[in-house]
């Protein structure tokens, strides 16, 4: 105690230098602390972001050319020109399997399946089915303009036409329609089309113009988009009904079409995936798990029969987590997504007739346990949206081939092909990809602003490192200079103390304790101040990037921020303490070393000098 008091007393007599030392040390420790704090918080942020951000790439094959399609319009008595994209061939998914491509999930090329579930009703789907009717024109006519057609029997439809109605009929898009005879009975599929301006002249039960709607021909294709040959010619919509017609192949096909109308009303879109985050709605937060859970890695890998259903469907069908859905996959669609095809305002009424003229047989069947329910927007007719009542399953749970049940096929596009790579590896990936020089496939990345944030954080980390290095250098310099000033320059004091009978450790304590206290005070003050300051600065920067930038993946961004914040709150002053500790330790070592040097000097050799 005496030694300590003595030590302090002598230190305070060097007020100016001690104060300067204290100030410099506070400043230097502050720098260290700010640097360290920045480094730590940014590291924590980075880690938090790492977990909450995802980098998704989507893949799109560009059309090889755009082709003009000419379609006859009976109203203007001319062809209308439409542009359509033409693909020489579909680029296979395997192009993405190249040397050095490192995927966290995917790449996957998704289709959606139609699952026929007669016990569940597809309420509210905006699907308009055509009407299949039997009847005859009121008089012989070529339907190249609206003609009167008397419906004798409605075989299938939505109730728009009733038996006995006379409708306006026009083979609108056919430049050379065949003549229809009043004394023959025809079976045909018609759909209404708002349009033909000369409707007013027509007098009948329904002033809406009906046009042919081809349902007899199968749309079946193979995976490459080649049509599976079918003996019904293109555009065929109408057959003459003669005695025993419905027993003929053609007639049976008509009956199958009629039967398929019921299938359409009970068909639910099912999408298989390896990672629901590869589905854009889940990625961007438009869809989210609201009850239950996502699939586990094991379920994905094994292809377990588990599924996610929408809140709306679960509620309407009275389904809960743990219930099973009997999925019966009938067809696969490789062109449109469920989000595009199943909407409440408009839904595609696919032809469910295969090239053999039969309703597609179920190729995969099984009970799927509902493990989660998702909420969010669905059924808004968006390629990148969720389909109405869409059901999600692990893609591997579909074990059987859908090759004979493909209803539509198409190229890889952003909405059906995607993969996930590690955050921050986009450039690396693209560098390797570009080497392949595949010009007709385009990759678009979504990272929720991760790259930008990463760049910001890396900048911050760089600055933090700079501050830290500067701080450390400064601390060492300050400690070095002052141990020279306070210790080495006072070797005489040590010698005199020794001469007066101080033991070595007395002399040690005599010098060390005061300096140690100064170092302690300086480094603690500096570190705490630095930590506090860095918090302030961090706060400012964070507010700025909160307001300045809108990140695509805003949910993730907020998560990252919360994580970084909670880290700060969980560990208040932890870094400051570490920092102070390190500096105190360094100071103690330097001071001790200095004093050790002093003690090594034999007092007799130092003091006996003749003059100062």
């Amino acid at each position: 105690m005496l030694l300590f008091k003595n030590s302090m007393r002598q230190l305070f007599r060097m007020k100016g230098r001690a104060a300067l030392f204290l100030l410099l040390l506070i400043f230097a420790s502050g720098l260290c602390s700010i640097g360290r704090e920045f480094l730590v918080t940014n590291q924590a942020k980075m880690e938090a972001y790492e977990d909450s951000f995802m980098t998704i790439g989507t893949v799109e094959q560009k059309a090889d050319q755009v082709e003009e399609r000419r379609i006859w319009d009976a109203e203007i008595k001319d062809y209308r020109i439409y542009n359509s994209s033409v693909y020489d061939s579909y680029v296979p998914l395997s192009v993405l399997d190249f040397e050095g491509a490192d995927y966290l999930s995917g790449p996957e090329r998704r289709c959606f399946y139609g699952s026929y579930m007669p016990e569940y009703e597809m309420y509210g789907l905006g699907m308009s089915l055509s009407e299949i009717v039997e009847g005859s024109p009121v008089e012989d006519a070529v339907p190249d303009h609206p003609i009167a057609f008397r419906v004798t029997r409605v075989l299938a439809g939505q109730g728009g036409i009733r038996d006995g109605h006379v409708i306006s009929f026009c083979d609108h898009y056919n430049p050379k329609p065949e003549k229809l005879y009043a004394d023959k009975t025809y079976v045909m599929s018609v759909a209404y089309r708002p349009g033909h301006e000369d409707q007013q002249e027509f007098e009948g039960d329904d002033v809406t113009e009906y046009i042919p709607y081809t349902v007899l021909e199968s749309d079946q294709v193979d995976i490459d988009g080649n049509k599976v040959p079918d003996d019904v010619e293109e555009g065929h919509f109408c057959d003459e009904v003669t005695e025993g017609f419905y027993e003929s192949d053609k007639g049976r096909r008509w009956l199958n079409v009629i039967a398929s109308w019921d299938y359409l009303r009970h068909t639910f879109p099912v999408t298989g995936t390896d990672d629901i985050n590869l589905l854009m709605p889940f990625y961007n937060g438009n869809a989210y798990i609201s009850q239950g859970r996502e699939f586990t890695a094991k379920e994905y890998a094994n292809g377990d029969r588990v599924c996610l259903v929408s809140e709306l469907f679960a509620r309407r069908a009275g389904l809960a987590i743990g219930d099973e859905l009997p999925l019966a996959l009938q067809y696969a669609n490789y062109r449109r997504t469920a989000g595009r095809a199943f909407a409440t305002n408009s839904a595609a009424a696919f032809s469910l007739i295969n090239a053999k003229g039969e309703i597609y047989p179920v190729f995969e069947e099984g009970n799927y346990e509902i493990v989660g329910v998702y909420g969010g927007q669905a059924g808004i007719r968006d390629d990148y949206g969720m389909g109405y009542n869409e059901i999600i399953i692990p893609s591997r749970s579909v074990k059987n081939s859908d090759a004979d049940n493909i209803l539509e096929s198409g190229p890889m596009v952003g909405s059906n092909t995607s993969f996930r790579i590690a955050n921050g590896t986009i450039d690396e990936y693209m560098e390797k990809w570009n080497k392949l020089q595949i010009s007709n496939v385009e990759i678009t990345f979504y990272d929720g602003g991760y790259s930008e944030l990463e760049a910001n954080i890396n900048n911050m980390k760089y600055i933090a490192r700079l501050l830290l290095v500067m701080g450390v250098i400064m601390v060492l310099m300050v400690l070095g200079y002052f141990s020279w000033l306070f210790i080495l320059k006072q070797k005489e004091r040590t010698a005199v103390e020794r001469c007066l009978g101080f033991r070595k450790w007395h002399s040690f304590v005599s010098l060390f304790s005061g300096i140690f206290l100064l170092i302690l005070v300086g480094s603690v003050c500096g570190s705490v101040a630095g930590s506090y300051l860095s918090g302030e600065i961090e706060g400012k920067i964070q507010r700025e990037d909160y307001y300045d930038k809108t990140f695509g993946n805003s949910v993730a961004t907020d998560m990252g921020k919360t994580a970084a914040k909670s880290y700060e709150q969980e560990e208040p002053l932890k870094t400051a303490a570490e920092c102070a500790l390190a500096i105190v330790a360094a100071g103690a070592v330097i001071a001790a070393a200095g004093i050790y040097v002093n003690l090594q000097k034999e007092p007799m050799k130092m003091l006996s000098g003749r003059t100062e």
């Binding site: 005496l2 007393r9 002598q10 060097m14 005199v496 001469c499 007066l500 007092p603 007799m604």
Partner: protein, 223 residues
């Protein structure tokens, strides 16, 4: 009565390139209450010998006895704290402590209570002929003579029996020199201290009871 005795004491400085034999086979006896001088040319080994007497280092050969007990077997820190003190030509006061604090330090080190230490320090300073205002002054504000007297007061406070002074008057004018020598003499003759001064000042040597001369590390008694 004998207090210090050197028997065949030698000491050499061992530097990297050479070995300097600073003290060679010195034997002598110092008695209690006597005032001694060691004279000799500079470099003859006086300071080295004095340091050995102070226990700051061990002789390379030979033994120093303190009241018959070999110094090398004693706790030499305690020996300096309690029995022997050194005064240097360059004073070597603690520049950041006042005169009183300088004197108090060894006292407090001997576990004396602060008040008592302060009282004794003031007494000692008075004893060496310093005015009480000096007590609060820092060494650099004092004259050389005053500083040396503080140093002597500190040595008295530190050493109980032996005062070893290495050219204590080397930096002083003749007036102060006289005072300091008178003080040392008084300490020897009146207070029973054994005082050994190194000097090459004949006037100082004349004041002492016995004189030793050192030459090239060897010592002979000349008076």
């Amino acid at each position: 009565m004998e207090i210090l005795r050197a028997e065949h004491v030698s000491y050499s400085y061992q530097s990297k390139y050479q070995k300097v034999e600073a003290v060679k086979d010195v034997s002598c006896v110092f008695e209690k209450g006597k005032f001694y001088a060691i004279v000799g040319e500079s470099g003859s080994g006086k300071s080295t010998f004095l340091s050995l007497l102070a226990g700051l280092d061990q002789p390379s050969e030979g033994t120093i006895y303190v009241e018959g007990e070999p110094l090398c077997d004693m706790d030499r820190d305690a020996y300096r704290l309690n029995r022997a003190a050194v005064v240097y030509q360059a004073f070597h006061l603690f520049p950041l402590l006042t005169a009183q604090e300088n004197v108090m330090l060894p006292l407090e080190c001997k576990k004396m209570r602060k008040k008592e230490a302060a009282r004794q320090a003031r007494q000692l300073l008075e004893r060496v002929g310093l005015e009480s205002r000096i007590c609060r002054q820092f060494p650099k504000m004092m004259s050389g003579g005053e500083q040396q007297r503080v140093a002597i007061a500190r040595a008295v406070a530190a050493g109980g029996e032996i005062i070893l002074a290495d050219e204590p008057t080397g930096n002083l004018d003749s007036g102060n020199e006289e005072n300091v020598v008178a003080l040392l003499k008084e300490l020897a003759h009146e207070d029973g201290y054994t005082v050994i001064v190194i000097t090459h000042n004949q006037r100082v040597a004349d004041e002492t009871d016995h004189v030793f001369r050192m030459k090239d590390g060897s010592m002979e008694q000349i008076r």
